[in-house]
């Protein structure tokens, strides 16, 4: 039995939590989310390089919340999601345990402070490869960028899989669902697709933790992560602010500094 399975078994057996949300094997061996509620089922848990999904998305589902206190198998982005959700008043202190899997010992983080400390030791910056890709893309001409996104968005189905996969898209009413006024046209045409994606990116600015689940969820393979990473980068360079590193900090876009850059303003 792996250390992770052992820890899950222990938590369930002692009723410290009512459910362990982790990764299991789905059909064809792919990793998928599992909800373990009995100590005897702890053996179903796996953790390896294929376990990418940000399981914090389930924390916001009412049906999962009903199960009781949860222990969550986390990746770095998951931890940052938890802090971001806490900062947005969506989850309460002591409502969950985070299990950080590692080869030797499972680190158990029970408080936001513990998660903050753990996250502080991680590198929350974009990776060098991510930065390089952004750089390459930004270096393209304006028209090239426009054509690229027109082509990408022309395939968008407005299926909202990105939204469903995103743990920070927890709004019970999305702007796209508002019809008085109708902010975004309902059909999946080019204008509506563009507006939908701009809107979603803007609503994630200063909040997105770059877990990448939106891109993985997109059935037509639109590189949505590029938009998010662009904003992560801008928010950090412009305002020295990072999402998901504190359970209390204010959002970069609901705060300001009197000396924010304004070289573009006449």
């Amino acid at each position: 039995m792996s250390a992770l399975q052992e820890k899950a078994r222990e938590l369930l057996a002692s009723a410290a939590v009512q459910v362990v949300i982790g990764y299991g094997r789905g059909s064809g061996g792919a990793a998928r989310a599992v909800f373990i509620r009995e100590a005897t089922k702890a053996g179903d848990l796996v953790f390896d390089g294929t376990c990418l999904q940000n399981l914090a998305v389930y924390l916001m589902k009412p049906e999962v919340r009903k199960l009781g206190k949860a222990a969550l198998v986390v990746r770095p982005a998951t931890l940052r999601t938890i802090l971001q959700l806490a900062a947005e008043n969506q989850i309460a202190e002591n409502s969950l345990l985070a299990l950080v899997p590692s080869a030797e010992e499972i680190v158990l983080l029970a408080t936001f402070a513990a998660i903050e400390a753990h996250v502080a030791a991680l590198d929350s910056d974009l990776s060098t490869a991510e930065k390089a890709e952004l750089q390459r893309f930004t270096a393209l001409g304006l028209d090239e960028r426009r054509r690229f996104w027109e082509e990408q968005f022309s395939r968008c189905l407005k299926c909202y899989a990105c939204r469903a996969a995103c743990p920070l898209c927890y709004c019970t009413r999305c702007t796209v669902e508002c019809n008085q006024p109708q902010w975004i046209p309902v059909p999946a045409h080019d204008l509506g697709n563009l507006e939908w994606n701009v809107m979603r990116a803007m609503h994630l600015a200063g909040r997105c933790v770059n877990c990448g689940d939106c891109s993985r969820a997109c059935p037509v393979g639109i590189p949505l992560y590029l938009l998010n990473q662009k904003l992560v980068s801008d928010v950090f360079t412009g305002f020295n602010s990072r999402s998901g590193i504190s359970a209390r900090s204010d959002n970069a876009l609901s705060t300001f500094k009197p000396n924010d850059p304004e070289d573009f303003i006449r």
């Binding site: 947005e88 702007t175 008085q180 705060t255």
Partner: protein, 671 residues
Amino acid sequence: MARIGVFICHCGENISATVDVMKVAAEAAKIPGVAHSVEYKYMCSDPGQQLVKNAIREKGLTGVVVAACSPRMHEPTFRRACAEAGLNPFLCEMANIREHCSWVHEKGDATTDKAIDIVRTLVAKVKKNKALQPIKVPVTKVAMVIGGGIAGIQASLDIANAGHQVILVEKEPSIGGHMSQLSETFPTLDCSQCILTPRMVEVAQHLNITLFSYAELESLDGFIGNFKARIRKKARSLDEKLCTGCGLCTQKCPSRRIPSEFDAGLGLRPAIYVPFPQAVPNKPVIDREHCTYYRTGKCRLCEKVCPTQAIRFDQQDEIVEADVGAVVLATGFDIKHGDFFPEYGYGKYRDVIDGLQFERLASASGPTLGEIRRPSDGRVPETVVFVACAGSRDPAKGIEYCSKICCMYTAKHAMLYKHKVHHGKPYVFYMDIRAGGKMYEEFVRRAMEEDGVQYVRGRVSRIFERGGKLVVKGVDTLLAARPLEIEADLVVLATAGIAQPGAEELAQKLHVSYDAHKFYAEAHPKLRPVETNTAGIFLAGACQAPKDIPESVAQASGAAAKVAALFSQSELVREPLIAVVDRQAPPVYSSCVGCFLCQSACPYQAIEKEEIRGRDGQLLKTVAKVNPGLCQGCGTCVAFCRTKSIDIQGFSHEQVHAEVLALLNRGERDA
């Protein structure tokens, strides 16, 4: 179906000279929903307004657009006219075709077309307008003034004299503040206590003023007109009703070597004490930290000698609750102490003192009875160096601002010294002399010309003691920046004026904003200098920034006038152009998801958390709620809300959306 009336004004020829008003009226009539469209020479005249009123009544209009001048000019006029005709005033909008059209463009089709565009835009907007009712908030006509220095005293007296109840809260045992410590005041050199103490007595005797001395604000809840204050009355260890203020206890107290706060550490006081003879209230307080009985369990001498048995060793702090409608913050300032100036030996050499200490030396009621004697050996100093900007305008010490009062009080100190020690040599090291104010420059000139104060332009680098003298190493930048050395007997540092310790904590209790230096922030630096961003809380005196007595008093009277205006009616009526969070039927209750990003964006702390609970008391949802008493209607929260759950009345999503579409000719297709 909307029935909109459009009224186009010629404004004499101001509009009609460049805009074809006939065409505008004709085109407006074609806009779907427009039931009436007319033009008139002067729409704001009585007959013009009558046109509007008649049309409302006769045509059963559901909305009015007056295409004329700027709404900043005549919106109130036409809204009043609509109200008189029975139409909710918020269903009237103005299309600005004068300032934004006829006056700024040449005569021609483009100008007329633009006027039509503007009218169409406002018609689209008014179709989405909703009838709104003014917000009425009841007002408790009691003011709480926090801080009993000159600003708090002035504000209390002004409000009380306007016939309103005042609760004055002072944290020290006596009111009076820093002004009571001062010797003479610039630029008139009249005795500070002589002008202050009558005001203090007036406070004590005023029927409308309740004084809580030795008390601090514990908490403040509520909003403008409806605050609930909890005030902690610290235990004086004394029954104030029984105490006659005879002073026997203070004379007999055996523990008498405690540095006096009032004398800035230059004099001593007993453990049971009245800060100064003219204190208001003139009742002692036991300093429990230094009292022999509290420290050792033995003594109780004061209890034995008290003729009225007023001493209460077991007295506890008491919490008093009060309903107040407005708050005036007048907590004043402090000066920088401690060894933050090691190069000047401040805190090390006893003869390097600060400005307040010099005030006590110069004061007739001070420890030397007004004789200038230096603290170390009591000698009369022959040479005194005054150092201005000691800590002010000094980013390295963390203070980049000018403390404003130092130039003047330093000139005063040098003058007082010269008046008292005729053969003495006063020097002032300064960077700039800031003497803007009535008779201020003249005062400084007098110090230089009549009293021979030597002004040296430059900062002091270092002060050290040598053979009983303080060696001041300075410079005069006007003399090719040559270093100068002065052997002084006494050095007076004009240390920076800073916020009161605890200013931040108090600001957080009151939800008022403050700057990086913990001075309280005014609502607008130019136009609302005595208000805070929290409606109903006003500022007076140096808690906002260092300022002198006349300025503090002026601001206090200003704050009092604001309070009196607020109290002039029993209900506060405000325009309902504020934000609201949507409320829906169960089980949704509200589309708000409670992320509260709006909360940190709100400049007025107007967004509160509302807990929605089921019948069994179980918490179902926490959602945002706008406090209508606090919201000023900027709409910043609206643009943040991802679920579009907050909207602002008068500039709602539907209204502005319709305007954008209509302006670009597409409104009617989408509507």
